[in-house]
């Protein structure tokens, strides 16, 4: 057995790196209790930024990511099970996914109904986030993970914004900084505006990525989600859920 690290009442056995990003890396781990009873395999996101000059800013975001994601309790949000934010190598542990939506779409095995169900899960997860007054701000297929039971869950809270926190600094002048992924960014994002409707735009592009416009009702869903003017889009994700439910109903008949 490899060297174990302790985190609270658990022992962590690193298995190997499964992903890397600007913030650090994600590795697969085996988790044990203090009696070395196997609890399962998980993913651990470790903070070690490539660009050290951005360390402070990245660390702030990393801690925020953990806090926001840990506060979520929803079947369609990847849960955080453990974290350690002290020391030189802060990290958090979450459920280990089998794949992500990008890979699944590329593999080409998803049926129209499976795609629609995946969309419904993502919409339900984002609707839950919005109810907590959080904006995800980086919705894209690679941030939607698939787990062994076939459930798709929303992940990567690195850019999540608390809508209520924004009001505090409104009195002071600040500079808008665009973030997220260009392809999924609503036009107003370039002026630094984020809202439920910018997430809705990204969801529309994500649905477009799934190549199912031939299913009756899907193109309308995409069009209404990605309207140029925010006022012309769906105003809340719940409206999208209602629309997709109707589409699924039609396909299932």
């Amino acid at each position: 057995m490899m060297l174990m690290e302790q985190c609270g009442n658990y022992l962590i056995e690193p298995v190997g790196v499964i992903g890397r990003g600007g913030f650090g890396c994600v590795e697969k781990i085996n988790l044990y209790n203090m009696y070395q009873g196997f609890c399962g395999s998980f993913a651990r996101k470790i903070f070690s930024p490539v660009d050290e000059s951005c360390r402070e800013e990245f660390l702030r975001r990393f801690k925020r990511e953990v806090n926001y994601q840990a506060l979520c309790s929803n079947s369609y949000i990847v849960p955080v099970v453990l974290h350690s934010l002290q020391g030189d190598r802060p990290y958090f542990v979450m459920s280990l996914a089998d794949s992500d939506l990008t890979h699944d779409l590329r593999a080409g095995w998803m049926s129209p109904l499976q795609k629609l169900e995946a969309v419904r899960m993502v919409l339900t997860g984002i609707h839950y986030l919005h109810c907590l007054k959080y904006y995800h701000r980086d919705i894209k297929p690679s941030n939607v993970l698939r787990f062994s039971d076939g459930t798709y869950k929303v992940s990567d809270f690195g850019l999540v914004k608390n809508a209520d926190a924004g009001a505090e600094s409104e009195l002071l002048t600040k500079v808008a900084r665009g973030m997220g992924t260009e392809k999924y960014a609503a036009p107003e994002v370039y002026a630094g505006v984020y809202s439920e409707r910018t997430d809705i735009y990204a969801l529309g592009v994500l649905i477009e990525d799934m190549n199912m416009s031939d299913i009756p009702g899907v193109q309308e869903l995409i069009n209404k989600s990605t309207m140029r003017r925010p006022a012309d889009r769906y105003q809340i994700v719940e409206q999208m859920i209602m629309h997709i439910n109707k589409i699924i109903e039609g396909v299932s008949k």
Binding site: E170, L172, A176, A191, G192, V193, R229, P230
Partner: protein
């Protein structure tokens, strides 16, 4: 030959207890021309007062050493100076400032602008706004993404879309005007530059009596009174000048 006839200026903090993050360059004679400017340190970030004063200092150096320098080169050079602030102190990395300058020479008015200070020129009985605010609301309106009514309900009025700061793209507005086009029958031209703390109150009622409008000293004291009577919303600065061609 351009002659400065009169000028007035103020630059004050919102609260007397804290530092003023605006910096101004009162009218300065350079070669055969006149240069004046306002830089407004962006309030949310540490070191913004320092950034605005450095912007003014660097602007003066640049135009004094080469008064024909190209506007984009001016901003690029100032941005490099601001970037260097954080070399020894990481906490100053986001320090940011706006800058609006006006250089009058060879019967031309050259304006360089980034941010939300405003330059106005007197035309007939009114002052025309020459610069365009680099603010979130202005950008959203320009791109027709939101209507004025929709924006009223939204935050972001104080959010800039461009400023001089490390990691923020520069969106320089350069304007060139002919002095002759704005001179009155006596060859007089009036120009005013204001930081947002000042134009907030000017914009509410953009007029004074004609006597006050043509006299930089009266304009200056009348707007100062208006701001202080209403209560400052930010640091407030203004430079008003009258020149003769």
């Amino acid at each position: 030959m351009i002659k400065l006839i009169s000028s007035g200026a103020f630059s004050k903090p919102k609260d007397k207890s804290r530092a003023n993050q605006d910096s101004i360059l009162p009218p300065l004679a350079i070669e055969n021309g006149i240069l004046f400017a306002i830089a407004d340190g962006v309030g949310s970030y540490e070191g913004s007062g320092l950034a605005s004063s450095l912007a003014i200092k660097k602007l003066k150096e640049l135009i004094e050493s080469n008064f024909l320098i190209e506007t984009h080169a001016v901003f690029k050079s100032i941005k490099e100076t601001i970037n260097d602030i954080s070399l020894n102190q990481l906490s100053l990395e986001q320090s940011a400032t706006t800058l609006t300058y006006c250089h009058v020479f060879d019967e031309k008015i050259m304006v360089g602008h980034v941010g939300d200070c405003r330059l106005y020129i007197k035309s007939g009985s009114k002052y025309l706004q020459i610069t365009k605010d680099h603010t979130q609301h202005q950008k959203l309106l320009d791109e027709k993404l939101f209507t004025k009514a929709e924006l009223k309900k939204m935050s972001g009025k104080n959010t800039l879309t461009s400023a001089i700061s490390k990691g923020v793209p520069l969106d320089v507005q350069e304007v060139s005007l002919s002095l002759v086009d704005y001179a009155d029958e006596n060859g007089l031209v009036n120009l005013v530059v204001m930081s947002d703390g000042a134009h907030h109150y000017w914009h509410q009622r953009p007029t004074f009596s004609e006597k006050t409008m043509i006299n930089p000293l009266s304009f200056c004291s009348s707007l100062l009174k208006r701001i202080e009577r209403g209560g400052p919303v930010d640091d407030y600065s203004l430079i008003a000048i009258q020149i003769k061609i």
